[in-house]
Homo-oligomer: 214 residues x 2
């Protein structure tokens, strides 16, 4: 079986899940923590080399304060939780903005935790415009050079993007690293994560013809 080197995860549907449970929208983020850890462990078991979680974006920060507080807290907890595992961890996002939680500043340089191993990236206060902007010395169209000018240059090409919550879009997720990614959509909401959803995505990916645009 061909295992993707790098999986991107868009853990969407937290608010819809909360509403369905009769909870406030902001209560949908906490229940996404345990799925994140489960997914990390499944990827490690399979030999995935890099895993990128879509935490929150500069777009998301325009939501009501009670929600931005809740998803920021959940991202802080998620990164701390992953730092207790064996992983090579990096938080990527606009850390010079007040929306970036200062608790995560120590994670903005890649660091090995435990025995290291799988590269795990967490996008926090990430914006595609932040990632692509200010490339003012870029005088080439060489692919590797373009990537080196991104703020997210320490994140490699994504092979498979799995999105929970049914929406079929990238919502600004790493536009350059995603140019050749295969997308797999799971209709269930992220807090309803189940390992079988992940295995279905991996089995689907195994059947894809990978051409990198060729």
């Amino acid at each position: 079986m061909r295992i993707p080197n790098h999986i991107g995860v868009i853990p969407d549907g937290n608010r819809r899940w909360a509403v369905k449970q009769g909870l406030g929208k902001e209560q949908g983020y906490g229940p996404g923590l345990d799925p994140g850890l489960q997914l990390f462990k499944l990827c490690k078991e399979l030999g995935v080399k890099e895993l990128t979680y879509y935490g929150f974006t500069t777009d998301n920060t325009k939501r009501p304060a009670v929600q931005t507080k809740a998803f920021t807290a959940a991202c802080i907890d998620a990164v701390k939780m992953l730092s207790k595992e064996d992983a090579s961890l990096l938080v990527v996002g606009n850390s010079s903005s007040p929306m970036f939680p200062k608790e995560l500043l120590p994670f903005t340089k890649r660091k090995q935790f435990g025995k290291g191993g799988m590269r795990v990236n967490f996008l926090v206060n990430y914006g595609w415009e932040w990632d692509l902007g200010n490339a003012n010395d870029l005088t080439t169209n060489n692919r590797n050079t373009i990537i080196s000018y991104l703020k997210s240059s320490d994140i490699t090409r994504v092979d498979l993007i799995i999105r929970w919550g049914g929406r079929r879009r990238l919502s600004g997720f790493l536009p350059v690293q995603s140019v050749y990614s295969d997308f797999y959509i799971i209709d269930d909401y992220w807090p309803d994560f189940n390992p079988s959803q992940f295995y279905e995505a991996i089995e689907w990916y195994d059947k894809q013809d990978i051409t990198l645009g060729g």
Copy 2:
């Protein structure tokens, strides 16, 4: 019904269609011309304001010469065919490369044909690296300014991308204009185009919650 302002079309599966018919792979492109015209007319009828076809890419040009000749010829024919309709037509791609057909050079500035109307873009010898590269004065992360630095700056944000041929990926299609696009995948090959596939995509899009990342 909410009609997308801008539809991107990835007309994939020509070679697989040809093989299924017992033909050479290069014979799959010609039968894609009539579907292209049908789609143009359907979009016009619905009031779509802009339509972008994915012609061929710098990646595609690495294929065997018999194929590159065939898809280049089909793109030339398609653009000429569209120039007989009422449309505001633009060809976007790396025209300084020898792979760019000189027959299409007159189309690299937007021009009105017939009574004008719908904006129709055709990507020819397009490469994401060409589009993003050489942004060497880009000293901001303002979204509109980033877009103005793209080679494809005359193409607006894409609302809905419809891909024929079953693959669930962008394959380098306009990475910046696609950050918020909704993707609809049709399993049939492009030469097996049928208006009902298009209407299904439009109906699906009508049910999506458009948030632009918010």
